[in-house]
Amino acid sequence: MKDSYDSPDDRNLLDQTRQGVIGQPLDRPEGRLKVAGQAPYAAEYDRPDCAEGVLVGATITKGRVKAINRDAVLGMPGVLAVFSAPEMLRRAAQGGAGEAPMQDVRQVEFPLQPIALVVAETFEQATHAAKALVVEYDDQSSKAVLVPSPGRAEPAKDPTENGDLEGALKDAAHVVDVTYTTPGHASAAMEPHAAIAEWDGDSLTLHGSLQMVKYNVDELADSVGIPSDRVRIVSAYVGGGFGSKLGISHEAVAATIASRQLGRPVRVVMTRQQVFQAVMRRSETVQRIRLGADSDGRLTALGHEAFVSNLPEESFSEPVLQATQFLYGGENRRLTLNISRINRLTAGSVRAPGEAVGMPALESAMDELAVALHLDPVELRKRNVPDQVPGEGTPYSSRKLVEALDAGARAFGWDRRRPLPCQQREGEWWIGMGMASAARVNILAKAEARVTLRGDGTVLVETDQTDIGTGSYAILGQIAAEMLGQPIERTSVHLGDSLFPQGAGSGGSWAASSTGSAVFRACEAIRAELARGLNCAPDDLQLRDGMAWVEGTEPRPVTDLMDGDIARIGRIEPGELMEKVKQATYGAFFCEVAVNAFTGETRVRRMTGAFGFGRVLNAKTARSQCLGGMVWGIGMALTEELQFDHRDGHLTNHDLAEYHVPVHRDIPEMEVLLIEERDAAASPLQAKGVGELGICGAAGAVANAIYNACGVRLRDFPMTPDKLLADLPDPFAGPT
């Protein structure tokens, strides 16, 4: 079998198999360890004689470290060493880099960039010494660029130009021309970045909190100048990543260098503030959106021009237009993405890069178009579902947008919405409803996994794939149990160790369908072996509860067909289908808000999401992914915003007290509908990804509900009370 996935696997094998565990809402197998506090995260491995390292950040915005006054801190109790080696990172690696990111840690490019590591016997000693460390700089902060400037932006990628946008807008019956802005966002995973490095001769073991182990091995090896086969990374439990742990970061290389020098294990855990200041941000965006529609509401013109920022020479640019490219029609279009260079921490992947911010802006603009047309917003979207990707002619694979819109509207009670704003008041609260579509590109990534059917009938799955809360432990076991006809209790899954075959890694919503397909193919190879034992074609093989048979014959124990363990490695790579067919996941959000007529405070009262992402591999963990995405959407709509000081460029809200992620009280009753779907073009599992879909447009539904409640159309996320206050209607006037 070719590794690359070039033609759809229409057998739908997982619908023919008999075990009945695929898709079931099973508990996470590692859940018992997590709720008991027994799942070890990176910093929690007990290594004898482990020293503690604390990073030191630059106090200038731009320049170079001239001197570090080591002697003063080396005399402090317990202090072992101060490192500021050239190999140490000044920037974290982007996802999938596979090579060292920017090193030369003494070159300062943004405020509080790590420049040194202080190592001591204890965390308290290292922290004290790190604060006491005196550093001299060649300060070039006056040359730093502190505020992103669209005027100085350069094209980030080739623009899309189809037809005549300006001409079509001139001829359109209805036009919307609006500019939306979104601020920077932080991943803010609950577990701060952490690493324990330990050398054995010239071999390195790193316990890290990382999302994509195979790339991280190469990044770390390249950073410290050793071959990749000398590096082992263990990342079995990851306390959230959301993009911030895709590539290696400051702590991993610093711990590695310190450990090599000191000849003992070294643990480095970044402080919460350092994670905010130094690792990765989502770029702020400015998005001009122009929509032109005929009198029936069909788009004829679509302009989406976006501005983002990043450090000089970073290749990543927040792909704001990713879903605009394929979601709706509008043959005359211009889509441009421009980037300006700025002295802020690296901009990179934060959950659902692109659609997380592009979709809310597009969906808010669509809401404005619906208002202009006096057309129901759901109906407007349904009228603009294109037959093929505009300007490309590419066909779509399975697409459940319309089904999600209808199912979501029905479940939510959208028919009770009043089309005009300021129609419903409860006490001092304006009540309104809003909706938005969800869309996210789907990606199949290269992956390998080993499956072993042991002589006793138990099943073992091994891959360096990580589980960052996404459910990899659960779904990979379910795929193997289903394919090999064994009870789930007899299946175990070992992840996050670079000694195992290389999975896809956790990112871009591709882990489940990619590494899952590798598990599927490994199981197919094992099934072929079992079929030989039964003298039947592999697809005629029936397996359940450890028994094997072909239709019409007596079941036999699988173990009777085996001569010891059967271990196979399954592989998959993206193939022609990724190019020939437009693959994406779709959905719809519906939301009810209350806006305080006096204070402008917005409370989300309930939210419904309906999502189609191919076969559901575990209905419980998939639902949780969707819920989590919607929580992010509420945060993005109402509270989340990185704020930078325009005088020196430092991040002012660098922790969880000041950067406001949603808390329990911010999250209302939520409903998730999983739309039945099979997408054979996406993977042999007929599954797509779901890790990010729940955020892609969610904030737009909140914004549109705010407009429906109180008639204020904000175009600047997050929609905080101060922005709403000025335009709120007379609170004493009541509903119009």
Binding site: D27, A36, A189, I468
Partner: protein, 174 residues
């Protein structure tokens, strides 16, 4: 340096001597000195609740408290509530309702919920209570309000609420 003060701290029923650095937080004492890493460090500033433990039955952020302050105290951590092969009712409910994803905030959520249930039983009011002097009317908003010191970035809040309610309504020991 002054003589190190000592504290005797009972953790999950076992008494330990603390004679270390006065700067050591209760959190780092648990994680580093005792190897009880179920209590998590998410921010070290009392902002996220991942380090929540119970001291003499009351929930606190263990990162905001120094070990040396706890002479004579009884500390209960997640390990004291139940082990993977012997889960408590709350721990079981978190698993069955998927009240977590990455699992890092989870021990703090569970310890916090266990202590919260006792606070409600004793009639403590919250910001969400209609009548701070009267009986607490237990509804979803009360639980959400009282659990808002425990952040979950994966966004498992709706499932956490379901898990806590199930245990509260069953009357089981958390």
């Amino acid at each position: 340096m002054a003589q190190s003060p000592a504290a005797r701290i009972a953790v999950n029923g076992v008494t330990y001597e603390f004679d270390g650095d006065v700067r050591r937080s209760l959190l780092d004492f648990l994680r580093r000195d005792l190897g009880l890493t179920g209590t998590k460090k998410g921010c070290d500033h009392g902002q996220c609740g991942a380090c929540t433990v119970m001291v003499n039955g009351r929930r606190i952020n263990s990162c905001l408290s120094l070990a040396v302050m706890h002479d004579g105290d009884e500390v209960t951590t997640i390990e004291g509530l139940g082990a993977a092969d012997n889960l408590s009712a709350l721990q079981k409910a978190f698993v069955s309702h998927d009240g977590f994803q990455c699992g890092y905030c989870t021990p703090g959520q569970i310890c916090s919920a266990a202590a919260m249930m006792e606070e409600i039983r004793e009639g403590w009011p919250s910001f969400a209570s209609e009548d701070v002097a009267g009986r607490v009317h237990l509804d979803d908003e009360e639980i959400r309000e009282r659990m808002s010191g425990n952040l979950c970035r994966c966004g498992a809040y709706a499932n956490i609420l379901t898990a806590i309610k199930e245990v509260m309504e069953s009357g089981a020991k958390p």
